[in-house]
Amino acid sequence: MSWNDTEPMVSIKDVYKSFGTLEVLKGVSLDVMKGEVICIIGPSGSGKSTLIRCINGLNDIQAGSILVEGQEVNDPELDKLELRKKVGMVFQQYNLFPHKTALENVMMAPIRVLKHDKEIAKKAAVDLLRKVGLEDKEKAYPGEMSGGQQQRVAIARSLAMNPDVILFDEVTAALDPETVNEVLLTIKRLAEDGMTCILVTHEMGFAREVADHIYFTDGGLIVEHGNPKKFFENAKDPRTKEFLSQIL
């Protein structure tokens, strides 16, 4: 199936997901166009993280469809490895490989998965580390870096695969307040460069400033969505208003 820029890059339609008997997503739909920055916010347990983990196939869905660049994620015939080359992910717990230096962490996937030449991959990795502001930490191991630094290396690692869309799963939730900013700045720069980003986050300031569209989930459903201006100033649903009042 061919896909062009005018169609949504990620198209989620009526997705249902359960863990055993616990239904976590109860019919979620949303579209992401190329170059957009989407923020998904909501209380814990509303299914936000589960949703984005379905996009790159880490979780399967029971009903509905998820299309990434026209490809159905739920298709059993789909080569998940191909999908993951297009969809990058950054985790809350960074999940860097502890036995490799920062540079090696960034280089590893392009060499092993994309079969790039080692020297080319190394050069690209150095550039990426510079882009996230960590060129002096090339030879450092994850255990020697702060949380914020590790997270930025994680972002560089995803970028090394040249994905079309990056998923961010509450990436600043485990960081000290001081380091949160450096990571958010990195993501902002990425967005300005035109990367399609889908973020699950609690950072309202960031969402207001950078997002093109915000979705509020509660109880496995999307309750309300809109652009930041409309969302923060004219929230319609009482649940949204209650949530916003608690965190703002």
């Binding site: 717990q93 960074y94 502890p98 949380g147 939730a173 485990a174 000290d176 300031g205 608690q246 965190i247």
Partner: protein
């Protein structure tokens, strides 16, 4: 702007708990016997196809089974005795390793290391050749038959391992225990006997049981030095049957079977105990 952040101490690796015995399944899987029995029956069936008027392989095995089982009981006897002697000596050595007296401590440590690093078979030879064939205690002549010498030979590595188990268990207790006892004016000896060692007993039990299983399996080494136990008897039985090649697999498989039936439940029990005690700790 109120939002929740928390500093997590992200462990890069989950804490590793050294496991000496397997962890999978806390119930004894009886179906394991099926493949072994199939092995015995299968090999004898294959071999059967070649033989003519001679007695069937299975029947021959049946004929010799009582004798082999008796031999095995002897193995168990040796293992129990060696365990008893080894544990007794090892306990003394282990406590010696904890002594405040430097000479006692270093010589205990040296002895432990020396006997730990030596192969069991070499120690067995050591005992067989160097122990006299009889000892004179207070005018009474006590003969030392081969199997007694072998038992002593097997008790030596047990002693070294028990010493290490004790030392490891004592060192694994939090130092707070020692400090608490000290502040209550317990002497070192009282601390050791009344507080530390009782708590250690639980920790020592799984590795000690593991050691017993290893020892039981090591008793077959005695066949190499001429003691008449199950392996020697198997060899003699095979020879008595005229060295028929078709008997080899079933007989040896049978010996494997008896040891498996004896040692596997011990291993499973050890796993369960280890799990149970670690919860309490």
């Amino acid at each position: 702007m109120k939002y929740q952040t928390y500093k997590t101490d992200l462990p890069v690796m989950m804490p590793y708990k050294p496991v000496e015995i397997e962890n999978f399944g806390s119930s004894i899987k009886f179906w394991y016997l099926v493949p072994i029995l199939a092995l015995i029956l299968g090999t004898s069936a294959i071999a059967q196809s070649g033989s003519d008027i001679r007695l069937g392989t299975m029947q021959t095995l049946m004929r010799w089974m009582p004798l082999l089982l008796q031999g095995f009981i002897f193995n168990v006897l040796i293992s129990v005795m060696a365990m008893a002697i080894g544990t007794g000596l090892g306990a003394a050595l282990g406590i010696g390793q904890l002594s405040l007296n430097r000479l006692v401590r270093s010589s205990s440590w040296l002895l432990t290391q020396f006997f730990r690093n030596a192969p069991w078979l070499v120690l067995l030879f050591f005992a067989m050749f160097l122990l006299p064939f009889e000892v004179n205690i207070f005018g009474i002549i006590v003969p030392l038959p081969d199997w007694v010498k072998a038992t002593i030979g097997l008790a030596l590595p047990v002693m070294a391992n028990v010493s290490e188990i004790i030392r490891g268990a004592v060192l694994s207790l939090p130092s707070g225990q020692w400090e608490a006892a000290e502040s209550l004016a317990y002497s070192r000896r009282q601390t050791l006997w009344l507080i530390i060692l009782p708590q250690c007993l639980k920790r020592m039990l799984p590795p000690w049981m593991n050691l017993y299983a290893i020892l039981t399996m090591a008793t077959v080494l005695a066949s190499i030095v001429g003691v008449s136990e199950v392996m020697t008897l198997t060899g003699e039985a095979l020879a008595a049957e005229g060295g028929r090649p078709d008997l080899l697999a079933p007989f040896y498989a049978f010996v494997l079977l008896i040891f498996f039936v004896y040692c596997y439940p011990i291993a499973q029990l050890t796993v369960r105990l280890e799990r149970k005690f670690s919860v309490i700790n």
